[in-house]
Amino acid sequence: MVAKSSSREGRVWHRYDRRQRLIRYVVLLLSLTVLYWAVSDIDIFWPWVWDAPNQIGSLGARMWPPDPRGLGEILGALLETVHIATLATALTLFVALPVSYIAAQNTTPNRACLWLGRFILVASRSVNTIIWALLFVAIFGPGVLAGILAIMFRSIGFVGKLMGEAIEEIDRRPVEAMQATGASKAKVIAYAVVPQVMPAFFAIVILRWDINIRESTVLGLVGAGGIGVILQGAIDTFAWPTVATILIAIITLVLVGEAVTGVLRRRVI
């Protein structure tokens, strides 16, 4: 087959055929247009951009060395952050599990419940934790309750969606077998659904707890408790060495959280 075409002289080779090239040019042109629009239209004072590295550098210099005073207060706030994340994750389950049950196609009692469940999941997931926090701070005032509720309301969508998917992906055959024994719907769920989604449940809860620890660190910036409150305070008073200590504390907390979830994941699953 090679010999057949080798008679022709002056062959050319292209990486892409004509249609592929056309698509690539259109996509490229479109991207460049969008980029040009974004760069030219954005409300940025360009001299500041060229000065930004200096500014960032000088901020970094002002933070050094980290100030270890107030470490006790920082550790207290870290603990509060962990409490917020943990309590919120625990509370989430009470809402997320029923919601996932009605939002899964194979367990939902009826169409109305299915759509209600899906609406709750979408609403919860579309609003960021910090926006939820803004809302709850306005309602319940600054403090940890607003933080816990904010984390909880965001987590319901996450846990509920993944649990709903886990329920939809179960093996149908044990369900059939349980129905054949004359078991009621509740018993079929207890025996054929719950055991099958248990591993997914643990994995999802552990994953969300890890994410919630990260998210709890920022709640304080809108007044919803945790380490963010003293971070905001330190920034407002230009106490940059303290800010550095808080940042180190946060990164340590996040890494410890990640390590703990790693161990839990290996233990439980």
Binding site: V34, L35, W37, A38, V39, D41, I42, D43, I44, F45, W48, V49, D51, A52, Q55, I56, S58, L59, L79, E80, H83, I84, T86, L87, V122, A123, S126, V127, N128, I130, I131, L134, L135, A138, I139, F140, G141, P142, G143, V144, L145, R214, E215, T217, V218, L221, V222, G225, G228, L231, Q232, I235, V243, L247, I250, I251, V254, L255
Partner: protein, 273 residues
Amino acid sequence: MTTRSSAPSPRQGRRTWRKPPFIANPWLRYGLWLAVAVYLVWALGTLPFNWARIAEGVPRAARIFGGGFPPSFARADLLFTGFKESLQIAILATLLGVMLSIPFAVMAARNLVPRPVYVVGRAVIIVSRSFHPVIVAILFVAAVGFGPLAGILTLTLYSIGFVGKLLAEEIEEIDWGQVEAMKAAGAGYFATLVYAVFPQILPRQVGLSMYQLDSNLRASAVVGIVGAGGIGGTLMNAFGRYDYDFAFAILLVIIAVILVSEGVSGWVRKQIW
């Protein structure tokens, strides 16, 4: 018929069976329950709840939702400007972040670089992943001032962390035979990267970029809350001025935009793969 120790008393007629507990050791089992109870008491006891203020919550909620409905789109121009800025921040940050994530991903891939470089690359990725974008944003706002520049810098770093991590993992799993083939052909380090490594990670990279654009658009809505530009600032102002009807209008549009962006991003990724 032999019954092993796992089966209860072999005496006929008086056999019982209990479900074997999830945790075999009774001390550990009950200890765990006790630990959970103690933790709950401790956590709830030490957290500073301001009950007097919380009690006002119901009338306040009524006022907020009463003031919020129906949402007001009277200041649609402000809404539009905010979203335009969020979109611009997301686009520029994604572009910068995705481009910068490539060198950092190479640095953080164990199989391509010497150990010291690997440690630096990993450290950059770990640090940029550990900080929530809002914290990074507040620092950039402090350094370079209010406005979209801080937002772009924040989300660029955020993208480097996320895309860089996944890309580094992808690089570590590439088919090494292609790299050897390039080396055998006498290619240098960068030629090997371009011919043997990048083609293998490109599909993944394009998919990740689309995902990251979606993700950055979401995040750009919140970094504004601490002054890094975009719709978040507009939302924060509306809340601060008790303009709840405008705030709810913004929220509704944010949800709509996120849903659309999620759909578009998912569609594009499906087309690519």
